[in-house]
Amino acid sequence: MKVGGMISKFRKSTVITVSPDHAKETCQLIVTELPEFYHLSTITGVDDDPSITLYYHFWQGGDFLSVKTGVPKTNPVIPSLIDVLPSAILYEAEVKDLLGVIFQGNPLMDRRLLLPDNYPLEAPPPLRKEADPEKIRKMMELE
């Protein structure tokens, strides 16, 4: 299996680090060529200034296979995984609501899954480091 990324092991989890353009292709390879790893556990997003790191966790038996990639905060766009694995739709919507990463091709991108309707549009997504709970609460009370 050819994959253009860095592979590292951390206890029972193998992490493959790829660039964001290759993330979807890597996941597709995993799903087709390692069919036992079809189960996508979740998609995690972490705010690491100046980029947002995304992990796609696949699980089989005693091993985890994670595909790690990063998108810059100034342009957090990445192709969606839903035509490879339809189960990714909710996880991507959650990462979009909380960290502001846009997954192109996901139909839930234009509506909010978790955030309420009165969450201000100017406020940064809640899980980012610059999101200050006090400031956001003030913004919501003024509205």
Binding site: F10, T42, V46, W59, P86, L113, L114, P126, P133
Partner: protein, 397 residues
């Protein structure tokens, strides 16, 4: 596709129907449901964000309050992730005790669910009987851990207290009682007409849907696929006390009923076996306050399915990121798929069938509860509608 507003029936968000708020938009064509659009986020409490301000040990108490029913599952998933990062071997006795409490929790959660299915199908007596039997399990948990729901029992290097001295006798008695009652309920759900007509053939899923939508837990096992985190990736003492993974084949709510009852019996057996074989020794060690830099993934088999924790440490006393994926989130898409093609009368039973726990699922933002207004159909009305619909159908045949 554009749907006209007359065809849309909102189910939620604050329902006496569901124990926690949840919003489903059901698009009907005539009487059949063609599309289900969920909207979650009503019980958001900002737990993942709150975890970034608290020390490792304080987070144990935070995470076990995510959910009342699977509270211990959250607590052992988190503590085991930290033990993984610390490269700690916890004492064997602590692992056995964690298994015992986790299985007792599974029993109480499945019995709670069975009672709810009885309630939703109009069979109130079953609901009352099952919840009374559940009290036996909860009293046992209270004797061991000091509390019924939020047990605060697991800690970052084992469990906080040892088992009480004379727990063997009540444990054996209660497990025998639960096993006998489960046999009785099993014969009841296969023969009682009220339940059979509302659960057999309702909400069918198959293995193709499973591969695409990745559900977890009993919803996955009711299609015949035997996947269980306890067996595939053992934690606590499951490598020494191996559970027998139960499956059922039809993929409908009736097979979920039988499957969960079988799991209750299996849990009783595991508890007794663990108690017979428990080794002696300490139950906890002293853990350091600061965790080295790294990432750890840990998952456990909560009563509803695979509960996934991802913990990242920057090398200090406070975590950098904790990501939690609860089983209800993984099952939500499968549940909406199960609803398609059925009528409004089947909605409460199918949604209860996936065993939803929205307290577990919505915990990631720091904003207030949504202030949506309540729509025309209330939970009680929907439940009564379901009961009447089926009564009419039976009287016609």
């Amino acid at each position: 596709m554009q749907y006209s507003p007359e065809n849309m029936v909102p189910f939620g968000p604050v329902h006496p129907a569901l124990k926690e708020p949840e919003y489903f938009k059901l698009i009907l064509e005539g009487e059949k449901i063609v599309e289900v659009i969920p909207r979650i986020g009503y019980v958001h409490r900002g737990i993942e964000r709150a975890a970034q301000d608290r020390t490792w040990i304080k987070n144990v108490y935070l995470f076990e309050r995510i959910c009342g029913i699977c509270s211990f599952a959250h607590s052992i998933a988190y503590t085991q992730a930290i033990e993984n990062l610390l490269q700690f071997e916890i004492p064997r006795r602590a692992r056995y005790i964690r298994l015992i409490i986790a299985e007792l929790e599974r029993i109480h959660s499945h019995l709670l669910w069975l009672g709810l299915v009885g309630y939703w199908t109009g069979f109130d007596t079953l609901f009352m009987w099952i919840w009374k039997d559940r009290e036996h399990v909860l009293d046992l948990v209270e004797t061991i851990t000091g509390n019924r729901i939020h047990k605060s029992y697991s800690t970052i290097s084992g469990v906080r207290r040892d088992l009480p001295d004379n727990i063997g006798e009540p444990l054996r008695k209660e497990m025998k009682y639960i096993e006998e009652r489960s046999e009785y309920y099993k014969s009841l759900v296969s023969s009682e007409e009220t339940l059979v007509i509302r659960t057999r053939g309702i909400g069918r899923i198959n293995q193709d849907i499973v591969r695409k939508l990745c559900p977890v837990g009993p919803l996955l096992r009711c299609t015949g696929i035997a996947r269980d985190v306890r067996v595939e990736d053992p934690y606590a003492a499951y490598d020494e006390i191996i559970p027998d993974v139960k499956t059922s084949n039809d993929g409908d709510i009736a097979s979920l009923l039988l499957l969960r009852i079988e799991e209750v019996k299996e849990s009783c057996r595991l508890v007794l076996e663990a108690f017979e074989k428990i080794p002696s020794g300490p139950v906890k060690l002293t853990a350091p306050r600061s965790v080295p830099k790294g990432e750890a993934i840990f998952h456990v088999e909560a009563p509803r399915g695979e509960l996934f924790y991802f913990v990242r440490s920057p090398g200090g006393t406070i975590p950098d990121r904790v990501k939690i994926r609860t089983p209800t989130m993984a099952n939500l898409l499968t549940a909406t798929e199960m609803l398609k093609g059925h009528t409004l009368a089947d909605v409460p039973v199918v949604l209860t069938g996936m065993d939803p726990c929205f307290g577990c699922m919505d915990r990631v933002s720091i904003v207030e509860l949504d202030k949506s207004k309540q729509w025309a159909i209330r939970g009680e009305e929907l439940r009564q509608f379901g009961i009447d619909w089926y009564k009419q159908r039976r009287s016609k045949t």
